[in-house]
Symmetry: C2
Subunit: 273 residues, 2 copies
Amino acid sequence: MSAAPRPAAGPAPRIGIFDSGVGGLTVQRAILAALPGADTLYLGDTARVPYGTKSAETVTQYSLRNARFLLEAGIDLLVVACNTASAVALPALRDALPVPVLGVVEPGARAAAAATRGGRIGVIGTPGTVASGAYQAALRAARPGAEVVAQACPLFVPLAEEGWTDPADEVVRGVARRYLAPLREAGVDTLVLGCTHYPLLKAAIAAELPGVALVDSAEVVAAEVAGRLGAAGAAAGGQGVHRFFVTDAPARFLAVAGRFLGRAVEAAEHVDV
Amino acid sequence: MSAAPRPAAGPAPRIGIFDSGVGGLTVQRAILAALPGADTLYLGDTARVPYGTKSAETVTQYSLRNARFLLEAGIDLLVVACNTASAVALPALRDALPVPVLGVVEPGARAAAAATRGGRIGVIGTPGTVASGAYQAALRAARPGAEVVAQACPLFVPLAEEGWTDPADEVVRGVARRYLAPLREAGVDTLVLGCTHYPLLKAAIAAELPGVALVDSAEVVAAEVAGRLGAAGAAAGGQGVHRFFVTDAPARFLAVAGRFLGRAVEAAEHVDV
């Protein structure tokens, strides 16, 4: 009996990922769990982080520069691993790029719409993401009649970057309680973590909202990337080659990247985009 | 009896001030208290805020762009109202500009050296300011033999911008206690507020460090500006003309500017620098 022919392993697909900083590594982590053989190019715009407090025009301009850099480096698909950029810049990116562009907002909204029992859905994010209304619109499109409560949580990002994430920590608990009180009072049954830093605070958020389903867009996006790349992604059997680029000096990025990616990041290249 | 001749009121001096964002308005506030008739041009680099987590090279590049913009708009003197930029970019700015350039680090250090009784001086600031070592060096130069304890307080800026500054607030108290514990344990008798956002947290900081002299660089810099402009500054008898420029959309700047400047800011112009 002869072995069935294996599909020829073509070159591994190259996935471009950008974020304003280090947070998008939680999305890359989920993508690598789904597609361990994929090659990735990650760009963290650390010279201009954060995007969440900036205007839609400025974030769109930066997003286009990031995307063009990754496109010139050669990618088959772009993941916008930044909620703020996904919320405001996706149409401009899709117009400008000849490869598929996936954001994190729509997949997160669809997953929340599937998870909710009663149709009361909360979303937390940066001021920019919340002000854009993108999650609110995507949730209402995915689940007509949904009641959506949105809350900006500007202190969550610096808490995650400080490594202050323990739910027993009085500061962490105090900040989480204050931001999440309106969601608790509204009786949401599902909450979208609308910022790539927030998965690090998942335990503290869950402690304030017992029984609420927490939706982490990263996992949904990873499944969607795997679906798009299909056979090419599955056939890539290697370890994958991963390159990291940052727009500020790499030291600070390297100091915290491992905590977000869940594996060591040994080098990042400084680029101007 | 004829009136003594008044010195002719020449044109009011024009003071350029830049910061990474809104914090430098606490410096402008002190300058206007000292020189009410001066004209000011304020540039907040809100598209690239914050500087405090970025590398010295990136901060220097942004500072030079900001300074050139103000120079072209016509200024007699430049105040770098950002501790991070003062800590890392002052030599480059002084080389590049044909007008006097004042930072906030050296005046703050001199004031602390004058205020300390026992020579144990603390300084708090952004990670960038603390990592630069600029305050530590300036303090040791101003007071040879001084024992200097430096502490980065990354959550203080978002606390001030959220308006969470009440010393009775449990989150404010918890964050202040954690950051200031090493300074309390070291027994500092004087503390430099090495970030322009921190004066808004002065009461919370004082509550954790009773009996410690708090040095706000803004007031020292204002006195130095008044000294440099001398007669021209004193003779300007009008109300002063104040223009505000920002590199991101003005809405967010305008929403918080009044709290930092201590008077209404009605308009800001969006510029690319």
